[in-house]
């Protein structure tokens, strides 16, 4: 386990150094990431200047929700960006290299890149979380702080697992671009708004089928003491399930890999 972590850290570090060679690109990506969070904020503030609440969610609460979603989404590019290159690797037969090296294939795949736009997401999302928390009515206790951190870790685990799961679909879908994963993750963008605004079908699908709702909605509901807040406490369980599923699908997919035949 320690060795695996070390390999992950070294590989990610190498890519970080490579990316930092291009300073202009670094700033462009950070700003681009930040811009998308600012867009969310502009949308919410424009909307809430005309309505007092969105299905029982006040402006600060909605900002907290969108900020959490943005923050969690920033972790993907920073720590799992390499996963998005899996489709290209399969398509070009480049998965041969990780397969022959003495380290877990999945670790080599996820650490094979780093996306600096994640920093913009973390800054933007983090600021939104901070502002949302400061302006929401939350009764703080050590237990609540601890719980919030555990749920945040669970949310992050779920999203990262979904990224692996979606990209592992490239073993079956084929093609050079991870379109399945892009669709899977983009659909989750609907979870940056309170889930209660959607129809029953979407709510059910986002809870049971693909647990987007556990990335931000249920944890935030628990923190804010919304209706059926207890569901938020299931986040770590869902996270464990997602990790298991992602591992399983990746391994199944890896068995299908047949190189490009050079």
């Amino acid at each position: 386990m320690r060795r695996t972590l070390r390999i992950y850290r070294r590989s990610l570090g190498a890519h970080l150094r490579a990316v930092l060679e291009y300073e202009a690109d670094f700033w462009i990506l950070v700003v681009a990431g930040l811009l998308f969070q600012v867009l969310n904020l502009i949308f919410l503030s424009a909307v809430f200047s005309h309505v007092p609440a969105l299905n029982g969610w006040s402006f600060p609460e909605a900002v907290l929700l969108a900020g959490t979603y943005g923050f969690i989404n920033g972790l993907g590019p920073l720590f799992f960006e390499g996963t998005w290159r899996l489709a290209g690797k399969i398509n070009h037969g480049e998965l041969d290299y990780p397969l022959t090296r003495p380290a877990p294939v999945l670790v080599q795949v996820v650490s094979a890149g780093i996306g600096m736009h994640g920093i913009g997401d973390l800054i933007g999302g983090g600021a939104m979380i901070g502002w949302g928390l400061a302006n929401s009515d939350i009764y703080w206790s050590p237990l609540r702080i601890g719980g919030a951190l555990v749920l945040l870790a669970g949310s992050a685990t779920i999203l990262l697992s979904l990224i692996v799961l979606g990209n592992a679909a490239s073993f079956w879908v084929g093609g050079n671009h991870p379109v399945f994963a892009m669709t899977l993750i983009r659909t989750g963008d609907m979870a940056k708004y309170p889930l209660s605004i959607y129809g029953v079908a979407v709510r059910a699908a986002f809870t049971v089928l693909v647990p987007y709702a556990f990335i931000s909605f249920f944890p935030a509901s628990w923190l804010l003491g919304k209706e059926s807040a207890w569901i938020g406490l299931l986040t770590p369980v869902v996270a464990v399930y997602c990790v298991y599923l992602a591992r399983l699908v990746f391994r199944r997919g890896l068995r299908r890999y047949d190189s490009a035949g050079h």
């Binding site: 600012v38 867009l39 983009r186």
Partner: protein, 261 residues
């Protein structure tokens, strides 16, 4: 003309080769549209906001989504890739106008885009019960302005993509452009609902011609001379950006570095 039509056909075929890819991407776009419909449905359940009721907002969101979808084939990524890996050098040796050639490539997606828009419109009419229908004059004005969206978006995308002559990474540039276009075109939220400090720049920037103009014509918010003025603004922006792009192109060529041979 013939070589450009050939490029257009080639680009269409290229898109159709990866049918599954395109299909999945369109499904992603559809869920985005469904998401915004749900958000606005919840927001408008207590009454209209800024002059938009649910029926008008439905039409607005569809037009916003359609104007985002049209002319958005992979043309910019192909161009960016060829600049970044140096293949642009062979494009330069071809007896074609570079800008017209890229325009033809960008328009290769139009056929599939129109089909997708038709499907989305049908789905919305079916599942949400009807759609605002404009009178014949407004419908004609809308059609003209919607067709002008494609060259306008091309000009903006083309100018943005030329950033690849100076930076190594197209993704960030493309995203930043998307964010700015989404905000100032009215695709994020109708421009009338933006705070004043954003509505001001939105009114003078070219992006409003992408979503706000066709929507205003469709919904009948702009009629008569005002409608013609909006169309004229759209046309002028296309010309300005088209020729502006040629100026930038001349400078960009000087920044081009291709290693090896």
């Amino acid at each position: 003309m013939r070589p450009y039509l050939g490029l257009l056909r080639m680009s269409t075929r290229r898109i159709l080769t990866y049918r599954l890819n395109s299909l999945i991407l369109w499904i992603g776009g559809a869920t985005f549209l469904a998401g915004s419909l749900a958000v606005w449905h919840a927001l408008l359940s207590q009454g209209e906001i800024g002059g938009y009721d649910w029926d008008q907002m439905k039409a607005y969101l569809l037009i916003g989504w359609a104007s985002g979808a049209i002319g958005s084939a992979y043309g910019d990524w192909w161009m960016a890739d060829r600049i970044l890996d140096g293949h642009v050098a062979t494009d330069l040796t071809k007896p074609l106008d570079y800008q017209w050639a890229r325009f033809s490539e960008h328009m290769g997606g139009l056929a599939t885009e129109f089909i997708a828009i038709a499907i989305a419109a049908t789905a919305i009419v079916t599942f949400t019960g009807g759609m605002v229908v404009p009178g014949p004059v407004q419908a004609l004005l809308f059609t003209v302005s919607f067709l002008l969206v494609a060259p306008l978006k091309f000009a903006i995308t083309y100018i943005t993509t030329m950033a690849c002559f100076w930076t190594q990474n197209f993704m960030g540039v493309s995203w930043a452009k998307d964010a700015i276009v989404t905000l100032f075109s009215g695709a994020l939220i109708p421009l009338a609902l933006l705070p004043a400090w954003l509505a001001g720049p939105a009114a003078v920037l070219p992006f409003a011609s992408i979503t706000a103009t066709p929507a205003a014509l469709y919904l009948g918010q702009a009629t008569g001379w005002e409608a013609l003025r909006l169309l004229a603004v759209q046309a002028v922006w296309i010309l300005v950006l088209w020729w502006g792009a040629r100026l930038i192109w001349r400078r960009a060529l000087r920044a081009l570095t291709v290693h090896g041979g």
